[in-house]
């Protein structure tokens, strides 16, 4: 009896669509990416109301030890020694773009005096739009 020769299938994983999926993910990440200009670790205060902050906003951050860092929204944030330096930096940014939005990113436990100095400096620099960065308050927060 003559046995029929078995046809050997070459094992093959279809990978043609893998690149499509990968590029789709790349496009998603490219569109959503925002390079963080300030990496100060803070415990933000919690609020019920939270609005989207425009991209490329300038940052003023105050860490739990009261150290102030500033960023114009493009460069990485840099340490400043006093609130007066916030004023000169903010004035420079506002001179370039009067509509620039500033974000105050302060630790919740920082004394008001420190935040007050920063807000006053922004006010004197004629900044109009300021956002207070916050975390979402939930019902469990009380």
């Amino acid at each position: 009896m003559k046995l029929k020769a078995t046809i050997e299938h070459k094992p093959n994983i279809p990978t043609a669509s893998m690149a499509d999926i990968a590029f789709l993910l790349i496009i998603f990440f490219m569109l959503t990416i925002t390079f963080e200009v300030d990496k100060t670790q803070v415990q933000l205060p919690k609020t019920t109301l939270r609005y989207e902050i425009p991209k490329q906003s300038a940052y003023v951050s105050i860490d739990p030890n009261g150290r102030i860092r500033v960023s114009d929204g493009n460069e990485q944030s840099a340490l400043v020694s006093a609130a007066d330096e916030v004023l000169s930096m903010a004035a420079g940014v506002i001179a370039m773009d009067p509509q620039k939005v500033f974000v105050v990113k302060s630790d919740g436990d920082v004394q008001w005096e420190k935040v007050d100095e920063v807000i006053d400096a922004l006010k004197r620099a004629k900044v109009r739009d300021v956002y207070l960065l916050s975390d979402q308050r939930t019902v469990t927060d009380g």
């Binding site: 690149a19 790349i26 939270r50 902050i53 006053d120 739009d129």
Partner: protein, 145 residues
């Protein structure tokens, strides 16, 4: 006669394309940070050298002590009691300024809590947004009593 030619495959080699694509994905995944990019807007009034004089009795003063306790028009009050207290006053005069004045040693989060609560006035039945004012220490020293 049958010629057995070694014909090369007419295929574009795409197997490495996925490798490159995933390499890019890994890069974007590492550099992307889903950070908190939301917050409360805090429109600053123009730094006016000659601001309108607000009489003490025309406004509502909310003082915040370093312990987080609230003193509203000289009376201690809890956070959720502020809006019901303000409601009759604001119905008579919706433009009545509400001044938040934290102590210099008060933690920042207490001020944000009060500001957040006042911003939600319309959700608690008020007809208009509350005219909130947070004067800085310099302004208090320059223009206040």
């Amino acid at each position: 006669m049958r010629l057995d030619r070694d014909r090369p495959d007419d295929e574009i080699p795409t197997s490495s394309m996925a490798d490159i694509a995933f390499l890019l994905i890994v890069f974007f995944m590492i550099t992307t940070t889903f950070t908190a990019t939301r917050g409360l807007d805090f429109a600053l009034p123009e730094d006016d050298d000659d601001p309108p004089v607000v009489e003490k009795e025309e406004s509502v003063l909310i003082e915040i002590l370093p312990t987080g306790e609230l003193i509203v028009d000289q009376d201690p009050m809890r956070l959720h009691e502020i809006i019901p207290y303000l409601k009759p006053k604001l119905e008579r005069n919706p433009k009545k300024p509400v001044i938040i004045r934290p102590d210099t040693a008060t933690p920042y989060r207490y001020m944000v809590e009060v500001y957040d609560e006042l911003r939600q006035g319309e959700d608690h039945g008020l007809a208009e947004p509350i005219n909130i004012s947070v004067p800085t220490q310099r302004e208090i020293q320059s223009f206040w009593y």
